[in-house]
Protein backbone atom coordinates (compact mmCIF):
# COMPACT_ATOMS: atom_id res chain seq x y z
CA UNK A 1 0.00 0.00 0.00
CA UNK A 2 1.24 3.45 -0.88
CA UNK A 3 1.84 5.97 1.89
CA UNK A 4 -0.56 8.38 0.10
CA UNK A 5 0.81 11.85 0.84
CA UNK A 6 -1.85 14.30 2.03
CA UNK A 7 -0.58 17.07 -0.24
CA UNK A 8 1.86 17.69 -3.06
CA UNK A 9 5.26 18.78 -1.84
CA UNK A 10 5.75 21.98 -3.81
CA UNK A 11 9.23 22.52 -2.43
CA UNK A 12 10.35 19.12 -3.72
CA UNK A 13 11.09 18.55 -7.41
CA UNK A 14 8.34 17.31 -9.68
CA UNK A 15 8.74 13.51 -9.66
CA UNK A 16 7.98 13.11 -13.37
CA UNK A 17 10.39 15.75 -14.63
CA UNK A 18 13.00 15.92 -11.84
CA UNK A 19 12.74 19.68 -12.10
CA UNK A 20 11.53 22.28 -9.62
CA UNK A 21 7.84 23.09 -9.78
CA UNK A 22 8.69 26.72 -10.45
CA UNK A 23 10.58 25.65 -13.55
CA UNK A 24 7.80 23.36 -14.80
CA UNK A 25 5.16 26.03 -14.30
CA UNK A 26 7.27 28.74 -15.94
CA UNK A 27 7.77 26.50 -18.98
CA UNK A 28 4.02 25.93 -19.18
CA UNK A 29 3.41 29.67 -19.07
CA UNK A 30 6.07 30.26 -21.72
CA UNK A 31 4.45 27.65 -23.96
CA UNK A 32 1.12 29.46 -23.80
CA UNK A 33 2.96 32.72 -24.47
CA UNK A 34 4.68 31.07 -27.44
CA UNK A 35 1.28 30.30 -28.93
CA UNK A 36 0.18 33.91 -28.34
CA UNK A 37 3.22 35.24 -30.18
CA UNK A 38 2.81 32.65 -32.91
CA UNK A 39 -0.73 33.91 -33.36
CA UNK A 40 0.45 37.52 -33.56
CA UNK A 41 3.37 36.86 -35.90
CA UNK A 42 1.31 34.39 -37.95
CA UNK A 43 -1.44 36.98 -38.31
CA UNK A 44 1.14 39.55 -39.35
CA UNK A 45 2.63 37.14 -41.90
CA UNK A 46 -0.83 36.38 -43.25
CA UNK A 47 -1.73 40.05 -43.63
CA UNK A 48 1.59 40.87 -45.22
CA UNK A 49 1.55 37.95 -47.65
CA UNK A 50 -2.02 38.71 -48.70
CA UNK A 51 -1.46 42.47 -49.13
CA UNK A 52 -0.65 43.67 -52.59
CA UNK A 53 1.92 46.14 -51.34
CA UNK A 54 3.95 46.40 -48.15
CA UNK A 55 6.62 48.96 -47.25
CA UNK A 56 10.21 47.68 -47.15
CA UNK A 57 11.20 47.71 -43.45
CA UNK A 58 14.82 48.72 -44.18
CA UNK A 59 13.57 51.92 -45.78
CA UNK A 60 11.41 52.85 -42.80
CA UNK A 61 13.40 51.63 -39.79
CA UNK A 62 17.01 52.05 -38.81
CA UNK A 63 17.98 48.39 -39.03
CA UNK A 64 21.43 49.05 -37.52
CA UNK A 65 19.79 50.50 -34.41
CA UNK A 66 17.48 47.49 -34.17
CA UNK A 67 20.49 45.22 -34.71
CA UNK A 68 22.11 46.92 -31.72
CA UNK A 69 18.93 46.35 -29.68
CA UNK A 70 19.19 42.66 -30.61
CA UNK A 71 22.80 42.70 -29.45
CA UNK A 72 21.70 44.22 -26.11
CA UNK A 73 19.17 41.45 -25.52
CA UNK A 74 21.70 38.74 -26.42
CA UNK A 75 24.19 40.27 -23.94
CA UNK A 76 21.57 40.50 -21.20
CA UNK A 77 20.60 36.88 -21.84
CA UNK A 78 24.24 35.89 -21.41
CA UNK A 79 24.60 37.79 -18.12
CA UNK A 80 21.32 36.20 -16.98
CA UNK A 81 22.61 32.71 -17.79
CA UNK A 82 25.83 33.49 -15.90
CA UNK A 83 23.76 34.74 -12.93
CA UNK A 84 21.97 31.39 -12.75
CA UNK A 85 25.40 29.72 -12.52
CA UNK A 86 26.68 32.01 -9.75
CA UNK A 87 23.37 31.68 -7.85
CA UNK A 88 23.80 27.88 -7.91
CA UNK A 89 27.25 28.31 -6.39
CA UNK A 90 25.85 30.65 -3.74
CA UNK A 91 27.88 33.69 -4.86
CA UNK A 92 25.38 36.33 -3.74
CA UNK A 93 27.27 39.50 -4.69
CA UNK A 94 28.27 38.30 -8.16
CA UNK A 95 24.72 37.11 -8.76
CA UNK A 96 23.39 40.51 -7.76
CA UNK A 97 25.87 42.23 -10.05
CA UNK A 98 25.07 40.00 -13.04
CA UNK A 99 21.33 40.40 -12.47
CA UNK A 100 21.84 44.16 -12.27
CA UNK A 101 23.62 44.09 -15.64
CA UNK A 102 20.74 42.05 -17.08
CA UNK A 103 18.23 44.64 -15.85
CA UNK A 104 20.41 47.40 -17.32
CA UNK A 105 20.38 45.65 -20.71
CA UNK A 106 16.60 45.41 -20.55
CA UNK A 107 16.26 49.09 -19.63
CA UNK A 108 18.56 50.16 -22.48
CA UNK A 109 16.55 48.03 -24.88
CA UNK A 110 13.34 49.70 -23.70
CA UNK A 111 14.88 53.16 -24.03
CA UNK A 112 15.92 52.45 -27.63
CA UNK A 113 12.51 51.01 -28.41
CA UNK A 114 10.87 54.13 -27.01
CA UNK A 115 13.21 56.22 -29.18
CA UNK A 116 12.25 54.16 -32.23
CA UNK A 117 8.52 54.45 -31.49
CA UNK A 118 8.79 58.24 -31.02
CA UNK A 119 10.67 58.49 -34.31
CA UNK A 120 8.04 56.37 -36.07
CA UNK A 121 5.15 58.33 -34.57
CA UNK A 122 6.74 61.68 -35.47
CA UNK A 123 7.03 60.41 -39.05
CA UNK A 124 3.23 60.15 -39.02
CA UNK A 125 2.62 56.52 -38.06
CA UNK A 126 -0.54 55.84 -36.06
CA UNK A 127 -2.21 52.62 -34.94
CA UNK A 128 -4.68 52.73 -37.85
CA UNK A 129 -2.87 54.84 -40.43
CA UNK A 130 0.58 55.80 -41.70
CA UNK A 131 2.20 57.71 -44.57
CA UNK A 132 3.41 54.51 -46.26
CA UNK A 133 -0.02 53.68 -47.62
CA UNK A 134 -0.67 50.32 -45.92
CA UNK A 135 -2.52 50.96 -42.62
CA UNK A 136 -1.84 47.42 -41.37
CA UNK A 137 1.90 48.10 -41.61
CA UNK A 138 1.88 50.37 -38.55
CA UNK A 139 -0.93 48.43 -36.83
CA UNK A 140 1.04 45.18 -36.80
CA UNK A 141 4.24 47.03 -35.90
CA UNK A 142 2.75 48.75 -32.84
CA UNK A 143 0.83 45.69 -31.64
CA UNK A 144 3.68 43.19 -31.98
CA UNK A 145 6.66 45.32 -30.84
CA UNK A 146 4.40 46.79 -28.15
CA UNK A 147 3.39 43.36 -26.86
CA UNK A 148 7.03 42.30 -26.83
CA UNK A 149 8.07 45.56 -25.14
CA UNK A 150 5.46 44.88 -22.47
CA UNK A 151 7.12 41.52 -21.88
CA UNK A 152 10.52 43.22 -21.55
CA UNK A 153 9.01 45.72 -19.08
CA UNK A 154 7.52 42.88 -17.03
CA UNK A 155 10.90 41.10 -17.17
CA UNK A 156 12.73 44.20 -15.93
CA UNK A 157 10.32 44.47 -12.95
CA UNK A 158 10.57 40.71 -12.29
CA UNK A 159 14.38 40.69 -12.42
CA UNK A 160 14.67 43.84 -10.32
CA UNK A 161 12.68 42.05 -7.63
CA UNK A 162 14.91 38.98 -7.88
CA UNK A 163 18.02 41.20 -7.72
CA UNK A 164 16.87 42.93 -4.54
CA UNK A 165 15.95 39.62 -2.95
CA UNK A 166 19.43 38.30 -3.77
CA UNK A 167 21.13 41.38 -2.33
CA UNK A 168 18.97 41.09 0.82
CA UNK A 169 20.44 37.65 1.33
CA UNK A 170 17.30 35.80 0.24
CA UNK A 171 18.97 34.25 -2.79
CA UNK A 172 16.99 31.30 -4.16
CA UNK A 173 18.89 29.56 -7.00
CA UNK A 174 15.70 27.90 -8.30
CA UNK A 175 13.95 31.26 -8.31
CA UNK A 176 16.80 32.86 -10.23
CA UNK A 177 16.70 30.05 -12.79
CA UNK A 178 12.92 30.41 -13.20
CA UNK A 179 13.28 34.17 -13.72
CA UNK A 180 16.07 33.43 -16.19
CA UNK A 181 13.77 31.19 -18.25
CA UNK A 182 11.36 34.11 -18.65
CA UNK A 183 14.15 36.48 -19.66
CA UNK A 184 15.61 34.09 -22.24
CA UNK A 185 12.14 33.61 -23.66
CA UNK A 186 11.81 37.37 -24.16
CA UNK A 187 15.13 37.23 -26.05
CA UNK A 188 13.89 34.23 -28.04
CA UNK A 189 10.72 36.04 -29.10
CA UNK A 190 12.75 39.07 -30.13
CA UNK A 191 14.83 36.86 -32.46
CA UNK A 192 11.65 36.18 -34.43
CA UNK A 193 10.18 39.68 -34.14
CA UNK A 194 13.50 41.09 -35.38
CA UNK A 195 13.62 38.65 -38.30
CA UNK A 196 10.01 38.97 -39.43
CA UNK A 197 9.35 42.67 -38.76
CA UNK A 198 12.68 44.26 -39.66
CA UNK A 199 14.72 41.98 -41.90
CA UNK A 200 12.19 40.29 -44.17
Amino acid sequence: MHPAPAQVKWDAPSPAFEASWGKVMMWLFLLSDTLTFTGLLGGYGFLRASSQAWPTPEQVFNVNLVGFMTFLLICSSATMAAAVGTARRGETVRTGRLLGLTVLGGLLFLALQAYEWIHFIQAGARLASNPWGVPLFSTTFFVITGFHGLHVTAGVIYLTTVTFRALQGRLDPDGVETAGLYWHFVDLVWVFVFTFMYLI
Binding site: E18, W27, A81, G180, L199
Partner: protein
Protein backbone atom coordinates in the same frame (compact mmCIF):
# COMPACT_ATOMS: atom_id res chain seq x y z
CA UNK B 1 37.32 27.05 -26.92
CA UNK B 2 38.49 24.39 -24.50
CA UNK B 3 37.05 24.29 -21.02
CA UNK B 4 39.44 23.92 -18.14
CA UNK B 5 38.38 22.26 -14.94
CA UNK B 6 37.44 18.82 -13.75
CA UNK B 7 33.78 18.87 -14.80
CA UNK B 8 33.26 18.26 -18.51
CA UNK B 9 30.63 20.65 -19.87
CA UNK B 10 29.03 18.13 -22.22
CA UNK B 11 27.14 16.10 -19.65
CA UNK B 12 24.52 13.69 -21.00
CA UNK B 13 21.01 15.05 -21.21
CA UNK B 14 18.86 14.16 -18.25
CA UNK B 15 21.45 14.49 -15.52
CA UNK B 16 20.73 16.26 -12.27
CA UNK B 17 18.87 19.57 -12.65
CA UNK B 18 21.65 21.48 -10.90
CA UNK B 19 24.10 20.50 -13.67
CA UNK B 20 24.15 23.99 -15.30
CA UNK B 21 25.46 25.56 -12.14
CA UNK B 22 28.68 23.57 -12.24
CA UNK B 23 29.51 24.57 -15.78
CA UNK B 24 30.95 27.99 -15.09
CA UNK B 25 30.62 30.92 -17.45
CA UNK B 26 32.41 29.56 -20.51
CA UNK B 27 29.54 27.79 -22.31
CA UNK B 28 27.49 30.97 -21.94
CA UNK B 29 30.23 33.06 -23.51
CA UNK B 30 30.37 30.55 -26.35
CA UNK B 31 26.58 30.69 -26.84
CA UNK B 32 26.69 34.51 -26.70
CA UNK B 33 29.41 34.49 -29.36
CA UNK B 34 27.44 32.26 -31.75
CA UNK B 35 24.26 34.27 -31.24
CA UNK B 36 26.25 37.36 -32.15
CA UNK B 37 27.70 35.69 -35.27
CA UNK B 38 24.23 34.56 -36.40
CA UNK B 39 22.81 38.06 -35.83
CA UNK B 40 25.58 39.65 -37.92
CA UNK B 41 24.97 37.01 -40.61
CA UNK B 42 21.26 37.93 -40.60
CA UNK B 43 22.11 41.60 -41.08
CA UNK B 44 24.50 40.77 -43.96
CA UNK B 45 22.31 38.20 -45.72
CA UNK B 46 19.76 40.95 -46.43
CA UNK B 47 22.23 42.56 -48.86
CA UNK B 48 22.82 39.37 -50.88
CA UNK B 49 21.55 39.55 -54.47
CA UNK B 50 19.41 36.41 -54.17
CA UNK B 51 15.71 35.73 -54.92
CA UNK B 52 13.37 36.95 -52.18
CA UNK B 53 11.96 33.49 -51.41
CA UNK B 54 15.46 32.14 -50.82
CA UNK B 55 16.27 35.15 -48.64
CA UNK B 56 13.17 34.55 -46.50
CA UNK B 57 14.02 30.85 -46.11
CA UNK B 58 17.62 31.73 -45.19
CA UNK B 59 16.50 34.28 -42.58
CA UNK B 60 13.99 31.86 -41.07
CA UNK B 61 16.66 29.14 -40.86
CA UNK B 62 19.06 31.57 -39.13
CA UNK B 63 16.31 32.68 -36.71
CA UNK B 64 15.43 29.06 -35.86
CA UNK B 65 19.14 28.32 -35.28
CA UNK B 66 19.30 31.22 -32.83
CA UNK B 67 16.10 30.03 -31.15
CA UNK B 68 17.45 26.50 -30.72
CA UNK B 69 20.71 27.85 -29.27
CA UNK B 70 18.81 29.97 -26.72
CA UNK B 71 16.52 27.10 -25.71
CA UNK B 72 19.23 24.43 -25.54
CA UNK B 73 21.97 26.44 -23.83
CA UNK B 74 20.51 29.47 -22.06
CA UNK B 75 17.25 27.78 -21.07
CA UNK B 76 19.16 24.59 -20.18
CA UNK B 77 16.88 22.33 -22.17
CA UNK B 78 19.98 20.32 -23.13
CA UNK B 79 20.39 19.33 -19.50
CA UNK B 80 16.79 18.46 -18.67
CA UNK B 81 15.26 15.02 -18.48
CA UNK B 82 14.03 13.82 -21.87
CA UNK B 83 10.43 13.55 -20.63
CA UNK B 84 10.64 17.24 -19.75
CA UNK B 85 12.07 18.20 -23.13
CA UNK B 86 9.41 16.28 -25.06
CA UNK B 87 6.59 17.60 -22.86
CA UNK B 88 7.65 21.20 -23.37
CA UNK B 89 8.46 21.00 -27.08
CA UNK B 90 5.56 18.90 -28.34
CA UNK B 91 2.95 21.71 -27.98
CA UNK B 92 4.99 23.63 -30.56
CA UNK B 93 3.35 21.30 -33.09
CA UNK B 94 0.15 23.24 -32.34
CA UNK B 95 1.91 26.45 -33.33
CA UNK B 96 3.07 24.85 -36.58
CA UNK B 97 -0.44 23.51 -37.23
CA UNK B 98 -1.82 27.03 -36.73
CA UNK B 99 0.61 28.45 -39.28
CA UNK B 100 0.07 25.60 -41.74
CA UNK B 101 -3.66 26.16 -41.41
CA UNK B 102 -3.71 29.86 -42.25
CA UNK B 103 -0.90 30.35 -44.74
CA UNK B 104 -2.33 28.61 -47.79
CA UNK B 105 -5.22 31.12 -47.62
CA UNK B 106 -2.85 34.08 -47.52
CA UNK B 107 -1.26 32.95 -50.77
CA UNK B 108 -4.33 31.72 -52.64
CA UNK B 109 -7.60 33.34 -51.66
CA UNK B 110 -7.10 37.07 -51.20
CA UNK B 111 -6.50 39.31 -54.21
Amino acid sequence: MAEAGATPPQGPAGTAPQAPGRLGANPYVRTWFWLLVLTILELLVVFLPIPRTLLVVLLVVLAVMKGVLIMAEFMHLRFEKLSFVYSMLSPLLLALALLAGIFPDALNRLP
